[in-house]
Structures are given as C-alpha cells and as structure tokens.
C-alpha cells in the first residue's frame, strides 16, 4: 500500500503540498493548469474512445445507468448527512453535497497511474461513467437548493447561511439554464467529444497521435498533480474555518462513496479488481472543476470556501494518498470473496 506513495504522480502532488506548507513563492501560471487539464481530458477521452469502439453495448448502457444512480444518489445522501448533523445551513449543504455526485478527474487519473504501476488491468467502462457523472450532480444540486430555500422560508427567518435569501428566485439560475450548463460544460464536451473522435477515427490516424496522448501523458499528469497539490494545500489552511466536524465529513463521504462504489463495481457491474477500484474512486471523489462554478451561479448564497475546502482541501488529498490504495484493497477483498 505504501508503494502508492512511490509513484511520481503522487509524489509531485506531495511536492505541491510541501511547497505551499513551507510558503514557497512558487506559482504556476493559472493558464497552465487549465491547459494541462484540457490535455488530460482530451488524452483520456481519445484513449477511452479507441477502447470503447470495441466494447459491448449492453455493458456500456449498464455502466451509464449505474453512473446516473451514483451521480444522483451521492448528493442526496450527502445532503441528508449534513442536515442531520446540523453543521451548515441548508443552502450550504445543498452546494456541498452536489460536489460529491460528480467526480474529480485528477483523482481518477491518479488511480489509473496507480493501477498501471501495479500492473493491474482494468475495464474501460468507468471512463464513460466519468463523463456521465459530471451532469447529474449539477442538476441535483439545483434541486436540493430549491428545496433548501423552501425549508428556509418555512422556518420564517432561516438559520443564517449568507446575507441573502430575500429576493425571489427569478434571478437565480432557472432550471433550463442549469440543465444546459450541466450537459455542455467544458469538461464534458472535451471528454465526450474526444471519446467519439477516438472511436470513429481511422486507426492509422490514431496511431500518429500516440506519442502525444500516450507517451507524454504521465509527465503531464505529474505536472498537473504538482499544481493540484498546491491548490489543495492552500485550502488546508481553511481547515479551522470549516471546523473539525465538517472536515470529518470530507473524509467520511469518500469512505462511504468508495464502499458503495466498490460494491456496485463488483456486484452490479461485474468488473475485475481494476474496474472495481475505478468505480469506487468515481463514487468517492468530489468534483472541483465543473461543479463549483455551477454552484456559484445556482446557489450564490452558499459560501464557496466551504465547498472548495471540503472537495479540494480534504477529500481530494485523502483520496490520492489514502483512498486509492484503500479502494484497491477493498476491490481485492471483494474479488477474493
């Protein structure tokens, strides 16, 4: 399990964290991070597309259905947990919970690197699931927020999140706009588009792309995780602002999600150890790319530093360092059982 930490990608994540902790002035140009993630999504999409062209239709549909279930289910579960423990107001709860329905591509890629290094084979269906899961999380986030607003109204004055809650909902994002946002957000477009291109392109032409999408992939991933490590560590400092109980939520959710995901991957989808690990990672990880901006617009009353601290500062590092080998171990247990 410790060997996970000897993968360069994970080590660069750690270097990013350390750079922040020692207060280094190191900064990546903001556009570099964006460029790297465009590349990674494109590469993983193309790669997946080639594989999926050979895949079984029924299995793919099955995977998509379970992805939707996870995408809608995890936020509902997460919202309920937050409301019950009463640490944040309903609007903050809705915004936070939405993040756990979606997926962190960085975590997913680290898991791929982990499996590759261990020489573990994996199914490619989780890749479609990755693409599918961005959207439902955003939709359910909006619905939870709508119901949170009603709850606040019922309680006369509400219990505090933000200085808002007064105006009518007309200025907030309407459902149509949000559905549009959910299905056309940049990550989804790159991922799904590249998959389709990978699937329909002439094999000879794809061969020419190999050096770009395969050979240098691992190096680019290192650079990306380096930067993500710095981002994550920036948020670690907000830990005290968030409070220990809420921080615990950032670890509890991936543990629950990972377990549910592993069970689904093994039992419902019938994947091997590799694929099961990946489904666990999908369920356990929280988005920090597509969902935050959507929540910013859809739930402006919620405090962004709460949901960013949780998804990026706590859940993401937890998954990279502890979660991935843990889910892999779970998958192994299930396979052996």
């Amino acid at each position: 399990m410790l060997s996970n930490l000897m993968i360069p990608a994970v080590l660069f994540f750690g270097l990013g964290v350390v750079a922040r902790l020692i207060k280094s002035d190191l900064k990546f140009p903001p556009d570099l991070a964006k460029a790297l993630s465009i590349y990674l999504l494109m590469a993983i999409g193309l790669h997946g597309g080639v594989e999926l062209a050979k895949a079984d239709m029924g299995a793919a549909v099955n995977a998509i259905v379970w992805a939707l279930i996870l995408g809608f289910g995890m936020p509902i579960l997460g919202y309920w947990l937050l409301i019950v423990t009463r640490r944040v107001g309903p609007l903050d709860a809705a915004a936070i919970a939405a993040h756990y329905g979606s997926v962190s591509a960085g975590t997913f890629l680290t898991a791929l690197a982990f499996l590759d290094t261990q020489g573990v084979a994996y199914e490619t269906y989780p890749l479609i699931m990755l693409a599918v899961m961005e959207s439902p999380a955003i939709v359910i986030g909006l619905l939870l927020a709508a119901q949170a607003r009603q709850k606040i109204k019922r309680n006369a004055q509400g219990d505090g999140s933000g200085d808002a809650g007064t105006g009518g909902g007309d200025g907030r994002m309407r459902l149509g706009a949000l559905l549009h946002e959910a299905f056309t957000n940049g990550s989804v477009v790159i991922l799904v588009g590249s998959m389709i291109i990978g699937a329909v392109s002439l094999p000879g032409a794809m061969e020419k792309l190999k050096p770009f999408i395969d050979d240098i992939f691992m190096g680019v991933l290192c650079l990306f995780l380096f930067e993500m490590g710095m981002e994550a560590a920036r948020r670690l400092g907000d830990f005290k602002r968030v409070g220990a109980l809420l921080a615990g939520y950032g670890i509890l959710m991936p543990l629950i999600g990972g377990t549910i995901g592993a069970l689904i991957g093994h039992s419902a989808l019938g994947f091997g150890v590799g694929g099961t690990t990946l489904v666990a990672v999908l369920a356990a990880s929280a988005s920090y790319i597509a969902v935050p901006p959507a929540m910013r617009l859809a739930v402006p009353e919620a405090n962004p530093s709460l949901y960013l601290t949780l998804s990026l500062g706590i859940t993401f590092p937890f998954n990279v360092v502890v979660g991935i080998p843990l889910y892999h171990w779970m998958a192994g247990l299930l396979a052996a059982a």
Partner: protein
C-alpha cells in the same frame, strides 16, 4: 481649451460568473458600451479562493447622469438575490457626449 461635458462613471466589482448578466443589464438599459478588466481582491467573504471560477471582474460604464438610476436599480436587484457586488459611482468629463448616448450593439 477643450470643452468637456459631464458624465457618470459606474464601477462594479464582482465575480466573473456574473459577467453575462451584467452585459445583459447594460444592453437592456441602452448604455453606449462597457469595459471589463480582470481583477482579484478581498471583501465581505474574505480573500478570494483563487480558483478559476472565483476570479473577479472590474466593470466600468460611462453614461449620462439621467440614465444611471435604472442601471443601479438592476444591480440592486442582483444584490437582493444573494450576489455580491461592490459598486461605486464617480463624476467624469468627456469630449464627445453624443458618443455615450447611442446604445451598443444597436
């Protein structure tokens, strides 16, 4: 000496996520244009998170004094909906006042 004519300058500082809505306001209220500058900062919610989507914009609109109130009204409505906007207004003078009366995009 140059002849100068008085106008109002509204400055708005807010999240870049609201850009589209602000532009819609300017369009509907018939301002002759607007200018946007990327920015960052700190305010009632502390420092910005620094994430991509959490960037600020600083928006400037020059317009005749008698057209200011409808714009400010729309901005107040956004604030009422929970959005964070820092707004201030100043006096400026221009050479060609007619430039600031024709709606952009018209």
């Amino acid at each position: 000496m140059a002849n100068l004519y008085p106008e109002k300058l509204i400055t708005i500082i807010t999240t870049s996520m609201l850009e589209e809505r602000l532009v819609r306001v300017f369009h509907e209220r018939g301002t002759s244009g607007y200018t946007i500058v990327p920015a960052r900062g700190a305010g009632s919610r502390g420092e910005q998170t620094g994430m991509d989507f959490d960037a600020n914009i600083l928006v400037k609109v020059v317009l005749p004094a008698d057209r200011m109130d409808p714009v400010l009204g729309d901005l107040k409505r956004l604030i009422g909906q929970g959005h964070h906007l820092t707004i201030y207004v100043g006096d400026v003078a221009v050479i060609r006042p007619e430039k600031f009366t024709k709606p952009f995009g018209a």
